[in-house]
Symmetry: C2
């Protein structure tokens, strides 16, 4: 077995007030990472980091994730050029979530659809959704900055 | 079986470009919700919503979550008074994460430690962590706005 990159989480007090990072990885071995624009503060994406991707992010100052869909380490921007330069990495009270403030290279776009942010639609509020009346979405984000077919292929 | 509150997710194109909310709830029946301050944009907390808490949030315009630790619906602020008024609820490209822009009642604090945000420590970057040299944390957030013992009891 490999040596651990992070100490095991201790009790509640150490998690909340300690000065050592002891991430509480979930059943799939990842913590949630909320990636935000270092200047505007806008949320760009929500990703997942396992121990190795978190260690690489801390060491390199570039955003690394664990791709749950592909089951592999993911250096964000390696294909598209939209590499994430980490300005600050924050951890929450119980150490199971991260906020990563980044500046994005390339097109400055984070979403695989070519948009700056993955969060380009809002939910219409004010009515309980149900089987006959689903909740609606409205587009709020700007247009894509690149064509995914050009960047990732027609795949 | 109860009738579904949200339609089942369809294919990739509908998820990414559709105008109907079809959340992709994970194995535990929840989606991740990133809750941010509607004015400053600061990330306040990362929570989880099951179908019922998401429906209540959409209908009421107040933040409802699923507490994974307590296994129950959670009207945020019901005990502390720090109720979340929803200004905007955004969904991401593949509909498995939400960003909720809120204004917070009461102390204006979201973290159970009494702080405005759960993200009050940052990770020291630039060196790969390992068994003999864990990653360090530095406090960056402001002081707590309330004493948890006063609000939640001595527990």
């Amino acid at each position: 077995m490999s040596t651990p990159l992070f100490p095991a989480p201790a009790g509640k007090a150490d998690l909340e007030t300690g000065d050592v990072l002891t991430p509480r990885f979930g059943p799939d071995g990842t913590v949630t990472c909320v990636t935000v624009d270092a200047d505007s503060g806008a949320v760009l994406m929500v990703g997942h980091m396992n121990a190795e991707s978190l260690a690489r992010t801390i060491a390199s100052g570039e955003g690394w994730y664990w791709s749950r869909s592909r089951g592999e380490l993911w250096h964000k921007g390696a294909t598209s050029g939209n590499v994430q330069r980490v300005e600050e990495l924050l951890v929450d009270c119980d150490q199971d979530a991260l906020v990563m403030r980044v500046r994005v290279d390339g097109h400055g776009a984070t979403c695989h659809t070519g948009r700056v942010s993955c969060f380009y639609r809002r939910v219409v509020l004010g009515r309980r959704p149900g089987p006959d009346a689903p909740a609606s979405l409205e587009v709020v984000g700007e247009a894509p900055r690149f064509d995914p077919a050009d960047v990732y292929g027609k795949g």
